[in-house]
Symmetry: C2
Subunit: 459 residues, 2 copies
Amino acid sequence: MNTKTQNRRFVVIGGVTAGINAAKAVKRYDPDTEVVVLEKREFIAYDTSSLPYYIANVMEDHRQLIELTPERASQELHIDVWTRHEAMAIYPAENRVIVLDRETGEEKTLSYDALMIATGGVPIAPPIPGINLPNIFQIRTLADGINLKQYMVEHAPSKVTIIGGGYLGLEMAEACNALGMEVTILEKFGNIMGSMGSEITALIETDLREHQVHLLKDVSLKSFEDVDGKCGHVMTDGEQHRLETEIVIIAIGVRPEIALARGAGIEIGNTGAISINTSSQTSIENIYAGGDCTEVTHLVSGEKTYLPLATTAHKQGWVAGRNIVDPGCCVFKGAVGTSVTKVFDLEIARTGLSLMEAKRLGFEATTATISADSRVKTYPGNETITITLILDKKSKRLLGAEMGGREGVAKRIDVFATALYNQMTIREIAQLDLSYSPPYAPPWDPILIAANAGIKKLI
Amino acid sequence: MNTKTQNRRFVVIGGVTAGINAAKAVKRYDPDTEVVVLEKREFIAYDTSSLPYYIANVMEDHRQLIELTPERASQELHIDVWTRHEAMAIYPAENRVIVLDRETGEEKTLSYDALMIATGGVPIAPPIPGINLPNIFQIRTLADGINLKQYMVEHAPSKVTIIGGGYLGLEMAEACNALGMEVTILEKFGNIMGSMGSEITALIETDLREHQVHLLKDVSLKSFEDVDGKCGHVMTDGEQHRLETEIVIIAIGVRPEIALARGAGIEIGNTGAISINTSSQTSIENIYAGGDCTEVTHLVSGEKTYLPLATTAHKQGWVAGRNIVDPGCCVFKGAVGTSVTKVFDLEIARTGLSLMEAKRLGFEATTATISADSRVKTYPGNETITITLILDKKSKRLLGAEMGGREGVAKRIDVFATALYNQMTIREIAQLDLSYSPPYAPPWDPILIAANAGIKKLI
């Protein structure tokens, strides 16, 4: 295995999203290239974003989250998957990777013609006492999800504390609520959902209250109190300083896993993630990277940013694979930061920059907020959609959009995402010819109503 | 009334969509202008597109379709509405309109500073024997809807024949089916939904069959057979030449109502509709027009076209009103022909040019069709979305898109509409950062899958 075969060999480190996309693209466009995927854990090609729905039993079996098994990868796609194999070091000068077989402890050397680093992100753990207690969970990998679900089945906890009020924290709150638990969310800052504006987060907070989910904001974690070998209380600053709990879920974000890349001398960007070009190529010509270990160009600011989103990981992986076969064939220019989250009955979406981000980047930014009907007002099922636009006073361009409502949000945000890609001004957005029919939208779509409010704001 | 008041007077002919928008915009931006709306029928400011849902009892009361009554227009907006008043002639040189009071038969002369023609469209009636029988209906105005509903309540017809397989015909088929009738649709051409491609219309035809709706295509109407003073049979060419029926609904489209404008010497475009500029101004400076009596610039072809859509009527009316107050303040550049229709369980949408239209306009056009998941495949409620893209081989630009599916179609079409406005190439569309979350979309949104299929098709 440590000598080159006659065919080119493409080695992928990390088999979840970007890595699998790269492997599939190489095999699709050059079946003769040997493709080896190294995955340090058991599962590959699963959908991380479905984990909360797996926990909630909306998707009952963990196999529903798996798009491709190692067996099918081998049989159908001729991709060689080595699970429980961890890349320990990359030697770019020699085009070699050192691989640890985690079952046998054996170390192997694997040569490559092209390499892909798709090591993903690592969930951030607060460095406080008690963090390693056995009823404290993080949700990142499919194995994490299976462990958590098994623990819940075995221990039937009735009180859960969720650390972090971002989208994963809220999705886990919904999942735990659906399982009948009493849920408390602790958020470090004064606002949930990161830098999202209060017009939209207020909708979420109302929804949480309606579902009897406790939300504590501006909370500093002190420690996880050990009670009989488990976390029995979460200790915080502030009034409610000792929160009884039976299980803790930490969801405070991820950082890029860059140790291997750094060790190989690959350039790390200012964001702390691996720097890649639009072909997903790192600073070393035959080493590519993609997914949550890399940074991405934000197409609104033009700057590199760390935006760990599945959509970006898929595209970066696919573009890497295609460029390995046919250099220069295609690019991935960057993202605008579009995301959508289901929070109980609400669809919450955003794209582009928040007001806070826009100001930090030096834009003379302002916002316009409207609420409008999702359908013709008197058509059954009509709901209210709230939209906040973030606008640049100077160029009159849209910088970002945030939306919330009980229907019609998830895919409406994509119109703003498309507008951002095209650097549309607010006046141009008001011209858009959007679909209308009483069951689906009013004749003036909420997007147009928001755009017209934005025009007024900028006059 | 035939002398000018001190304030400017704005007279609007036609009070349904474009006319009311113009009236409201004038009052919003210049409350001192006197605004008189002439409406030859009883109702104003109602939503024509909701008529099928009113017939189907999804919206039970006709008042649910009315956005504004003459009384509220007067009291709240200070708009003077003259219902049952018909404009008979315009004298542009003298800035006067001759108005017939349809109740008293009295003729009045009304002077104006600015005039808006919003006479709408006239439903096309096939000029064949029996067309005036009393159980043959057209659905254009709210009065038409009320008449039809009353007839259905009184006569409880069990067999309906719908003439025309366009979106209104299909919506009426759904409505009549919901009311328990046996429905037959007669379509003159070999395809339903105008020039829409067969990949999408095939979905509709399957859906019609599942709902026991009979669809006869390539059918020439011969006559409506009089049986006891009613249409008892629809006579056609072809095999099933004598169709028993208890009621007939004609839905074969509209033509622009331009008699008044033509009489006033206003320029009529090649499309047969009133020619207006981006300020909704006709060839006579202080006469504006908008809605289904006017043509519109198609932003994909750049050519004037007749595209009677409510969305366009609203925008043209509003822009007319704003320009009457503040000339040059804003424009409506044109439409891309976006529409969506609910056909039983299906959402059917289109935007831009069909393949047939693109070829007629001289584009070297081709198509790419895909089917993809609306959500993550294993997430409950996932449905299949079918997308056909119409592409220009030369410029690699998107020219149009057609979509069908049980969910996620209505607002996804708007991404393509936004892409068309921005003249995006298919490669650019494949770059879009579209929202992803298992309940709403897969990580590769159907739009991206379609774009990637389009790229392949154009290589």
